[in-house]
């Protein structure tokens, strides 16, 4: 299914993002929130990787740290051959045209004092040479591409509906012909009818422009619709990463199973027949994750080893990666242990 000769466009190695917690009288560092704690994945060119997980598991942080909107604590991010994580600010700025982001809240992420044409045109002014007329043409072209009426170019963001604002955000992200776009829950703030429109627009643009997406969402059915591969996150770590059809038909990790069993089934006879896996307890605090496997406090299939030893994120089948002791084969463990030393 995956062409092995293809080079990944995005390569993430052991990315960590820890936010310090300050406290006490002297405002000292007393701990840290491990929002993202050592995750690795690749995204191939033209592919859509879905990133799912419950609220607060670190999905958005991954997206932001990837584009270095946060300074990652550790790890390596390579996008289109360039090392993002260690670039100087000016180098980073020059790389911005290849990687863009569509933000979650289309209301807050647009500057209220700029007109739509200013918002879309600003990156052009910053990164490209060209006359004002050229920029104007490009802005109108982008507005056409995302299905916004050209007459609205001189309006302000607050004069648009949520769906239209998200289109502005998409047009803005497309302005510099990026290769890679992080879609940070682009549909979470929209109502269902608009969600479908926006997702279809994103797919259409991908076909037309050959874009690569990291699609962050908690909407499993939407991810099933758009993604080629899916990564499931739990408490700052990737639990399972697999091609879409595999993960939806046969989830391996207990957390993935629980997550997928929570998706409502439209057919009542099937819905009654299936057993929902209901997790008990709360997600542990990311500032103090459990020893061993992150999921061991809530896992229905927990074993003794889970509470002591962290499972290794490894390939268990062709293209399927899982971090769970249930699937650990000893050879791989030994190989990994050897490589870690």
């Amino acid at each position: 299914m995956l062409d092995d000769a293809k080079q990944p466009l995005v390569r993430v190695q052991n990315l960590k993002m820890h936010f310090p917690i300050f406290g006490g009288l002297l405002h000292r560092r007393i701990g840290e929130v491990k929002a993202v704690d050592g995750i690795s994945f690749d995204i191939m060119e033209g592919e859509t990787l879905g990133l799912v997980g419950e609220s607060g598991c670190g999905k958005s942080t991954v997206g932001r740290a990837l584009l270095r909107l946060y300074e990652a604590t550790a790890g390596e991010v390579i996008i289109d051959g360039a090392d993002i994580a260690h670039a100087s600010p000016e180098e980073l700025r020059m790389m911005r045209p290849t990687m863009q982001m569509i933000f979650q809240d289309p209301q807050a992420s647009l500057n209220p004092r700029m007109t739509v044409s200013d918002i879309i045109g600003e990156p052009l002014r910053e990164h490209q040479k060209g006359s004002a007329a050229d920029r104007e043409d490009r802005v109108l072209e982008l507005m056409d591409q995302v299905g916004l009426n050209r007459d609205f170019a001189k309006r302000y963001p607050h004069e648009f509906s949520g769906g239209q604002r998200q289109r502005i955000g998409i047009a803005r992200a497309l302005a510099l012909n990026p290769k890679f776009i992080v879609c940070d829950e682009p549909i979470a703030a929209l109502d269902v009818s608009i969600q479908a429109q926006v997702v279809n627009l994103l797919e259409e643009l991908q076909d037309r422009l050959g874009l690569t997406y990291l699609f962050i969402s908690h909407d499993l059915s939407m991810v099933r619709h758009i993604a080629d591969r899916v990564a499931v996150m739990y408490l700052g770590q990737v639990a399972e990463l697999a091609p879409r059809d595999d993960i939806y038909s046969k989830p391996l990790h207990p957390y993935t199973q629980a997550l997928l069993s929570a998706v409502p089934e439209p057919d009542p006879s099937i819905a009654e027949a299936t057993d929902r896996i209901i997790l008990t307890g709360d997600v542990p605090s990311p500032s103090n994750p459990p020893k061993g496997c992150n999921f061991c406090t809530r896992c229905p299939q927990v074993m003794d080893i889970c509470k002591v030893k962290k499972p290794i994120f490894q390939e268990v089948e062709q293209g399927r990666f899982v971090a769970c002791h249930l699937f650990e084969n000893n050879e791989a463990t030994a190989a990994n242990a050897a490589s870690e030393v």
């Binding site: 045209p97 933000f103 990156p123 990164h127 510099l176």
Partner: protein, 341 residues
């Protein structure tokens, strides 16, 4: 916006009339006697005649209407005559006369106005020019040494009244420092000083330093805190992250996206503060012997000079009402989300 302005301007008429009545009543009902400062040797019948001549014994309503007529009709006509040279038939009409000096109140105010505008106006400008960069840098580097120092100085500016800081700088720069030193500054502001050449300009500059800086300290404290708070509000907004993701340079991000949005409340605060320039810094003018409007008001109050007190206070009221309107209009102009029509 235009109809809004017109509507508000029309509304100011009853507001100002009401204010003028309140001011008139307060001044009239206060137990001060225009003959109170005259020598005790004047017999009481003569005092009575003086009161009669001043028109103090007439019914309050008559006095009020007379004042209205003089202020709103006669004085503007006289100034129009002086300006254009037309004859509008004001010859021989009784002008609004100060009890103390027997000269027309408006002429007194016009004589005092330039002093106040130079000293207090300069202080306001200087204060704003210092405050804005301090506020911006403090917010951008929150909790840095610079920010802490700025906070400390602002606290001093807020809490130390000018009758203390004014006298303190006089002791420092006019008393302790010998008068032949380069750093010596004159403690009395000489309003008769005329700037004709470089030397006289240097003297004017030197004599302005102390009153201007004492006033500017207070203005800086207020506006820099406002700017800082407003900048902090906007620095964490989503659209600032959008700007960074677009690859805007840091200076563009801060100056264009953050600062412009932060200026909305700051500009209105500055506009609302402008009437206080005309009001003169009463205490500071007193400390440095600047004979501006503030000092005129104090002398008039002490002398029971009802027409002067009333006219001055009313002019301040007009300015406050007017600049409130201007602040509202500025708000609408600066923030596209606010529409008045």
């Amino acid at each position: 916006m235009f109809t809004f302005t017109i509507r508000r301007l029309i509304l100011t008429v009853p507001t100002l009339l009401f204010i003028s009545l309140v001011i008139f009543l307060i001044v009239k009902l206060s137990p001060s006697d225009p003959t109170g400062n005259l020598p005790l040797t004047i017999p009481s019948e003569v005092r009575e005649q003086i009161r009669e001549a001043l028109g103090v014994n007439k019914p309050l309503l008559v006095q009020y209407l007379l004042w209205l007529k003089q202020f709103f009709w006669l004085e503007p006509l006289i100034y129009l005559e002086n300006l254009t040279g037309w004859d509008l038939g004001t010859e021989g009409k009784v002008r609004l006369i100060s009890y103390q000096t027997r000269s027309p109140v408006m002429d007194l105010i016009m004589q005092r106005m330039p002093q106040t505008l130079t000293v207090v106006g300069t202080a306001y400008l200087v204060g704003i020019l210092i405050a804005l960069p301090i506020g911006i840098i403090s917010a951008y580097k929150q909790y840095s040494v610079f920010d802490q120092a700025g906070t400390f100085i602002s606290m001093i500016g807020f809490s130390v009244p000018p009758f203390f800081s004014g006298v303190l700088v006089i002791v420092l720069f006019s008393v302790i420092i010998p008068s032949d030193s380069f750093f010596w500054l004159p403690s009395i502001y000489d309003t008769t000083h005329e700037v004709v050449d470089w030397e006289s300009f240097k003297y004017q500059f030197r004599q302005m330093i102390m009153p201007v800086m004492v006033l500017a300290l207070q203005i800086t404290a207020q506006i820099s805190r406002f700017t800082r708070a407003s900048m902090l509000d906007n620095l964490n907004q989503d659209y600032v992250r959008t700007a960074r993701a677009k690859g805007m340079s840091e200076s563009v991000t801060v100056m264009k996206h953050v600062l412009r949005n932060s200026m909305i409340p700051v500009v209105t605060v500055i506009a609302l503060g402008i009437p206080s320039i005309f009001g003169g810094a009463i205490i500071t003018e007193q400390v440095f012997k600047v004979n501006g409007l503030g000092q005129l008001l104090i002398i008039a109050i002490q002398g029971g000079d009802v027409p002067t007190v009333q006219t001055l206070t009313f002019i301040f009221a007009i300015l406050i009402v007017l600049f409130n309107l201007i602040a509202d209009i500025l708000y609408g102009l600066l923030d596209p989300r606010i529409r008045y029509d």
